[in-house]
């Protein structure tokens, strides 16, 4: 593959990076919000079982 540099693109990027399109930003934030909220809900309702299952590894390390 041939080395190719793009001085115009580089110069533009260096001066002012292109912003994320607003639509993409909404989708990304929405998906992340749902994932985090779901994760926190699961931790709230099943956190103790989670720690109990991980506890075997901790117990092994701690002797």
């Amino acid at each position: 593959m041939r080395q190719s540099e793009h001085p115009t693109t580089m110069a533009t990027r260096s001066a002012e990076p292109e912003a994320m399109p607003a639509g993409v930003g909404y989708v990304v934030n929405g998906v992340l919000g749902l994932l985090i909220a779901g994760g926190l809900y699961l931790i709230a309702v099943r956190g103790e079982a989670l720690v109990a299952d991980l506890g075997a590894l901790v117990a092994l390390i701690c002797g």
């Binding site: 080395q3 190719s4 580089m10 779901g38 926190l40 931790i43 103790e48 720690v51």
Partner: protein, 408 residues
């Protein structure tokens, strides 16, 4: 594949988004392996120690492979390394799925370690560091750190549900498929080393010369010492908090919420560190982070331990958790430029992994001997003060070579 490989660079926001998603998936998948200890060991009729050793192998392979994947990433483009990491992770998970013996589990550990070395946060910092202009570099890497933090935070509860709903073996197939989601994310990260926001800013340098230069640079060693402490602190706390909480007579829900607020605080702290690095000296930021950790660990020695204090101290520690990543990797780029950033950060990361190993092992060894974590808190305080001090004399400026004209 040639060292000069390059393609039209993607927009910076797409590079950051892809790198953050890669780090989130890669680090999340690494995080969940502890959940498989009991079901895998029970079904295969092996002792827990075999699986724990496979996890230890994965962590060691990760640490030692990080500089190597860094060389490939810096020389040929991060996309190749990310594809390798995704495939190695999927192979490691499938080997765990198919394991019938100790050897199968150990081999799985090797591939999982290689996988996270190729598709973890360490593997993508260079791509982001090269794509971002210098003034935005630390905040761009902070976004990747936040992606990694989100992956770590949510992977455990989702995988726990998967194991319960599908059984451990089928859940591993879902995880292997999840690893494959990384593949398309490699495309925006495939721009070669020529695609650097300030590509012409420094004279060319090969990997050997970059290593020699870094090893001769005192500030690089100070950074290594500090990141060793970071690894010691975070893995000790993350691993031993449930046992500490139990030793204080508190319920397991306190550890659950303690670790959860660490994860949430980490997102805020990493963002703050990225903003700090845009304007203020990174070495001072790191010094404050480690000094802050020392203060938090003193809290575990002198405050009455209640559910509130454990959760409040965990929240404070979360703010100081992986906020070290953007500042530490940013300093590597400040010293040597972004050309060999992944490789050099991989070496700093190796010292982090050695610290991690010592933190988790020493915590167990000291608790076994003394039936108390007090000595570990004191060691953590002392290391926090040490790390705060070693960052102060760091010369936060480019090495002399960077000031030479590119044509020299």
């Amino acid at each position: 594949m040639t060292a000069a490989t390059s393609r039209l660079p993607s927009p910076l926001w797409l590079v950051i988004l892809s790198a953050a998603a890669v780090a989130g998936i890669g680090m999340g998948l690494r995080q969940v392996m502890g959940l498989y200890l009991v079901p895998v060991s029970t079904d295969l009729g092996l002792g827990y120690a075999v699986f724990a050793f496979a996890v230890a192998i994965a962590n060691l392979v990760w640490g030692f492979a990080a500089p190597v994947t860094g060389i490939v990433s810096d020389k040929y483009g991060t996309g190749y390394v990310v594809v390798f990491g995704a495939v190695a992770t999927a192979i490691g998970i499938l080997l765990l799925y198919a394991a019938r013996s100790e050897a199968g589990l150990y081999l799985s550990g090797v591939f999982l370690g290689l996988g996270v070395a190729g598709a973890g946060v360490n593997a993508v910092v260079g791509a982001v560091g090269r794509a971002a202009p210098p003034e935005e570099r630390t905040s761009a890497i902070a976004s990747v750190g936040m992606g990694s933090g989100i992956g770590i935070l949510i992977a455990l509860p989702y995988t726990h549900v998967l194991i319960e709903a599908l059984g451990w073996q089928t859940s591993l197939l879902v995880l292997a498929a999840t690893a494959m989601l990384i593949l398309p994310l490699a495309i925006p990260l495939s721009a070669g080393p020529a695609a650097t926001a300030n590509a012409a800013a420094a004279p060319p340098q090969d990997a050997r010369a970059a290593l020699a230069e870094a090893f001769r640079h005192p500030s690089f060693w100070l950074l290594n010492a500090g990141f060793f402490v970071c690894g010691f602190h975070v893995v000790f706390y993350g691993t031993h908090l449930p046992a500490y909480v139990a030793s204080q007579g508190l319920g397991p829900e306190v550890a659950v919420w303690g670790l959860t607020v660490v994860g949430l605080g980490n997102l805020i702290g990493t963002w703050l560190a990225g903003q700090w690095g845009r304007r203020l000296p990174k070495r001072i930021g790191l010094s404050l982070i480690y000094a802050g950790r020392a203060v938090v660990f003193l809290g575990f020695l002198y405050l009455p331990m209640t559910a509130f204090t454990v959760i409040a101290l965990s929240a404070a520690l979360g703010l100081l958790w992986l906020s070290t990543i953007p500042l530490t990797s940013g300093l590597v780029a400040t010293f040597f430029g972004p050309r060999w950033m992944t490789m050099l950060y991989g070496i700093v990361f190796l010292s982090h992994q050695i610290g991690s190993f010592l933190g988790v092992w020493l915590g167990g060894a000291i608790y076994d001997r003394l039936q108390s974590y007090d000595a570990m808190w004191w060691i953590s305080v002392a290391l926090g003060v040490f790390a705060a001090l070693v960052h102060l004399p760091i010369a936060e400026r480019p090495v002399a070579r960077m000031a030479e004209p590119a044509a020299a």
